[in-house]
Symmetry: C2
Subunit: 142 residues, 2 copies
DNA sequence: TTCACTGCAAATGATTTGCAAAGCA
DNA sequence: TGCTTTGCAAATCATTTGCAGTGAA
């Protein structure tokens, strides 16, 4: 009895991992598939792990944490700071801004066409350089 | 032998607390003094507690946490999201923006004269309203 | 007196880590 | 084979909470 070969690990995931200098292991491949197969996503370690498990992917929470950080360090993901209790990650690493729904703990991209105009960025203080400008629009129920 | 009366609990602290609807207890008074006596400050629960203890103020870390949240809920402090591991608080509750020195975990106001121009703020999605627009300029060593 | 507040220690929850087993090159 | 990566469970760290004692009105 041979194990059924799921159509996992699509080419792009492997390619993406190699390009990022990460060894394409089963777990990384499958998580990369989840993360990048469809459109952009916002997620936490817990939600990604739950999603993986629900799709039959066998991976530990610890590995999800490790993977999220490796992906972030490799530029595949971006970490978004909106909640002091949880870490959010965003598969969209291009420059963009966020809505954060405080009551729901939900994060969403601000559509490109509606982005806030960020102008007049101050000079970075002596000895530093600007790594990023984060803009978060916090929303509450009206 | 009577206890030496330190010039603690200055009037403004008590007034400020009453105005915020908080009962002026010894701990709250002394913490408010630390927080608002001098210029604006950026701090974490740990740093405030350490500062208090070093100045001879007897207060537990748990009370510092409680107090920071009560002050925040009363509008005396503002919580700033920059680091997923720690909560930062800012005594400046007026609209302004921050520099965050990633390597040092240090937070600083961007001088008002150099603030980023935030324009074209998008409409809040159906059923929500904009609570705040957070702008953080992340700095790394150059 | 009464209810809010405080401190302590224990509980929590997210995240990290040590280490042996398993996997990739 | 040799160095990575993974998984598990234990450890950590910031923060919160239960509860009995203390304090403010």
């Amino acid at each position: 009895m041979r194990k059924r070969m799921r159509e996992s690990t699509n080419e792009s995931a492997v390619t993406r991992l190699r390009a990022a200098g990460l060894r394409p292991t089963r777990q990384r491949n499958e998580l990369a598939d989840l993360l990048f197969r469809d459109g952009h996503r916002h997620l936490t370690a817990e939600t990604l792990h739950a999603d993986a498990v629900s799709k039959g992917i066998r991976v530990s929470l610890a590995t999800v944490y490790n993977t999220l950080h490796q992906f972030t360090n490799s530029g595949l993901l971006r970490q978004v700071m909106v909640d002091s209790t949880r870490s959010y990650f965003d598969t969209n690493v291009t420059e963009h801004q966020h809505f954060y729904y405080e009551e729901d703990g939900m994060l969403a991209d601000i559509p490109g066409s509606e982005e806030i105009a960020v102008g007049n960025i101050p000079d970075a203080p002596e000895g530093t350089k600007v790594a990023r400008v984060d803009v978060v629009v916090r929303l509450t129920r009206s």
